[in-house]
């Protein structure tokens, strides 16, 4: 009897889940594609019709094909080099060949990769600064009062405002004959850092300041040292808010990055969009739309990854995270 009831309720739950979890989202996406198709055909630009879903799909295929062609070319390039070196070495055993890097045009997927590591570098640097500073601010009201105006001043600044300054500073200070990073990468990364560190900083500070009074009393009664106090009581208590901040920061970082790459000419998705815009062929709008969807999708994936980290790090497993 009981098992029948639980089975029935289980089935109900499963069907409720498939309606809410699968059917409704699919329905939403289908409606969106339909509206897009209908709407797109009515918008005319100097580069032709606004790209509808079909055009975008075609452009996606062509981008995939370009990527594959480029890979084949690169492979051939390296094989040719090796053959040539082997030939020379057969004649002259003392000859040590140099393998030169393939310098073909980066494909859409190379650009995605560039964007990803640029955003992660910028976000990583921002976290390295924001978390410790946030903890300090949260622990000490005086530090908070001193830093708060500065934080509030810089928090709303757009990446486009920072970018010229960052560009000039990077070109002036990063001078090297054999640079490890390209300047466009550094410029984009620092811009991302400057714009995305604030949510982590503020949320960490709030989390640290909101440690339960009772837990602070426990720490006092135990006479915990400063380091133990911070490691065992303050940081664990602040973790939920810290992750809220980190997720907001990563979202901002990804948005800022595209703008930064456009202007800094970092070979990522931002540059892809800019180049296609400048190119102005009949395919350009479709390709830009592919990039738009890809940017959205990657942003979503980045948030899911952070959510997974948050679930892993959170001590309160009953908390609903979404």
């Amino acid at each position: 009897m009981i098992s029948n009831i639980t089975m029935a309720s289980l089935k109900e739950k499963i069907s409720a889940f498939s309606v809410k979890g699968i059917l409704l989202p699919v329905f939403g996406i289908l409606v969106f594609i339909l509206l897009w198709q209908v709407g797109a055909s009515r918008v005319h630009t100097s580069l032709g019709e606004f790209p509808g879903p079909v055009v975008v799909y075609e452009q996606w295929n062509s981008l995939v094909a370009e990527h594959q062609n480029e890979r084949v070319k690169a492979d051939k390039f390296y094989v040719r080099q090796e053959e040539r070196i082997a030939e020379r070495q057969a004649k002259d055993p003392s000859y040590a060949g140099i393998i030169r890097d393939y310098t073909g045009k980066p494909t859409f997927f190379d650009q995605i990769f560039t964007s990803l590591y640029t955003v992660l570098a910028g976000f990583g640097l921002a976290s390295l600064i924001a978390i410790p500073v946030g903890i300090l601010i949260g622990l000490n009201r005086s530090v908070y009062s001193a830093l708060n105006p500065v934080i509030q001043l810089f928090k709303p600044v757009s990446p486009l405002a920072w970018l010229p300054l960052v560009t000039m500073v990077v070109s002036a200070s990063y001078v090297s004959d054999d640079p490890m990073f390209s300047k466009s990468f550094l410029t984009s990364m620092f811009t991302v850092t400057l714009c995305c560190m604030w949510p982590t900083l503020i949320n960490t500070a709030v989390g640290v300041a909101a440690v339960e009074k009772d837990l602070l009393n426990v720490s006092k009664v135990l006479r915990l040292g400063w380091v133990t106090h911070v490691m065992k009581i303050v940081i664990p208590s602040a973790i939920p808010l810290m992750f809220t901040g980190l997720r907001l920061s990563l979202g901002i970082a990804w948005m800022v990055l595209i703008a930064a790459e456009m202007l800094a000419q970092n070979p990522g998705l931002g540059k892809f969009v800019w180049d296609e815009f400048q190119n102005g062929s009949s395919n350009s709008l479709g390709r830009i739309m592919v990039a738009v969807l890809m940017i959205g999708f990657i942003g979503y994936l980045l948030d899911r990854v952070m959510l997974a980290f948050q679930r892993f790090a959170s001590w309160d497993k009953t908390q609903v995270l979404r």
Binding site: E212, K213, D214, L215, L216, N217, V218, K220, V221, L222, R223, L224, T228, K232, I233, P236, S237, I239, W315, D316, K317, T318
Partner: protein, 282 residues
């Protein structure tokens, strides 16, 4: 018998926008080693303030606390506190919660193995070894309070301070924990100050019951010596005329001599905000 803990002429004032508010006035109490003392009084009378001053979480405006003849300043593990709402760290297991205290107190005097044994011994005392690896949100309220007691006991305190330790528990769990506490007390013979608003709890557990007058400027009203031999059995005592008499004496004090005047005067309100303000500054 010499005095172990001497609460000597303690007064405390909290600053408020309307000028200083005197919460406690000239509270004096001498407690001997191994004595179990309850503080009872209406809510808002400053019982918790007394405990917090002994714990070192508040500083007395006048007077002070002497432990074995030496003045104590600031909190410390020799005056361990069992908090009303357990105050376990939610991200640590029961074992780790006790471990944090043990490591802090004994890291120089005990080896790793000894510390482990000591943690397990204390969890054993409160019958919580089975949940050593459970986090607070996985165990019941009564179990959390047991772990809280284990953590306090594990510090081997000179004085154990309990702030309404069973106040948040249901009646059955409370009775169960009171029995456990009496059992532990029989073995360890700790010096205990317990705050309570439960008359039965006070009579059952205490050697002395300190009844406090209503605030503001609360102080010690009467002190009742509970001369019931130990071990005490709650069922046997329920009809014992001496028990009933002690109970009546406390009730008389609380409900006749120190009847709580309702509605609460605005002064009580300002006191609450004063405490909050102090906490915010701390």
């Amino acid at each position: 018998m010499t005095t172990h803990l001497d609460i000597s002429h303690v007064s405390i004032e909290f600053p408020t926008p309307k000028g200083p508010f005197k919460a406690l006035d000239n509270v004096s109490l001498k407690i001997q080693k191994g004595e179990f003392v309850s503080l009872i009084g209406h809510s808002g009378c400053g019982k918790s303030t007394v405990l917090n001053i002994v714990a070192g979480l508040y500083d007395a405006t006048e007077g002070g606390i002497l432990l074995d003849g030496r003045e104590v300043k600031g909190p410390g593990p020799e005056r361990a506190v069992v908090f009303q709402n357990h105050s376990l760290l939610p991200w640590l297991t029961s074992y780790q919660n006790v471990e944090l205290a043990v490591k802090q107190v004994f890291r120089k005097t005990k080896s790793k193995k000894e510390m482990h044994d000591w943690i397990m011994h204390n969890l054993e005392l409160v019958h919580m070894t089975h949940a050593a690896d459970k986090r607070p949100d996985e165990i019941s309220g009564g179990m959390k309070q047991r772990v809280g007691i284990a953590r306090a006991l594990a510090m081997e305190p000179s004085v154990l301070l309990m702030d309404e330790p069973f106040g948040a528990l249901d009646a059955l769990t409370r009775a169960h924990l009171q029995d456990s506490l009496m059992e532990i007390q029989k073995d360890l013979n700790n010096t205990v100050i317990m705050i309570t608003h439960d008359v039965d709890e006070a009579v059952l557990l205490s050697d002395r019951i300190v009844m406090m007058t209503n605030g503001p400027a609360a102080t010690v009203g009467e002190i009742l010596h509970v001369d019931l031999e130990r071990p005490r059995e709650r069922l046997a005592l329920a009809n014992d005329p001496r028990y009933v008499d002690y109970r009546t004496q406390v009730l008389t004090f609380l409900y006749e001599k120190q009847r709580k005047v309702e509605p609460i005067q605005p002064a009580v309100k300002t006191k609450k905000t004063a405490i909050n303000a102090k906490v915010a500054n701390a």
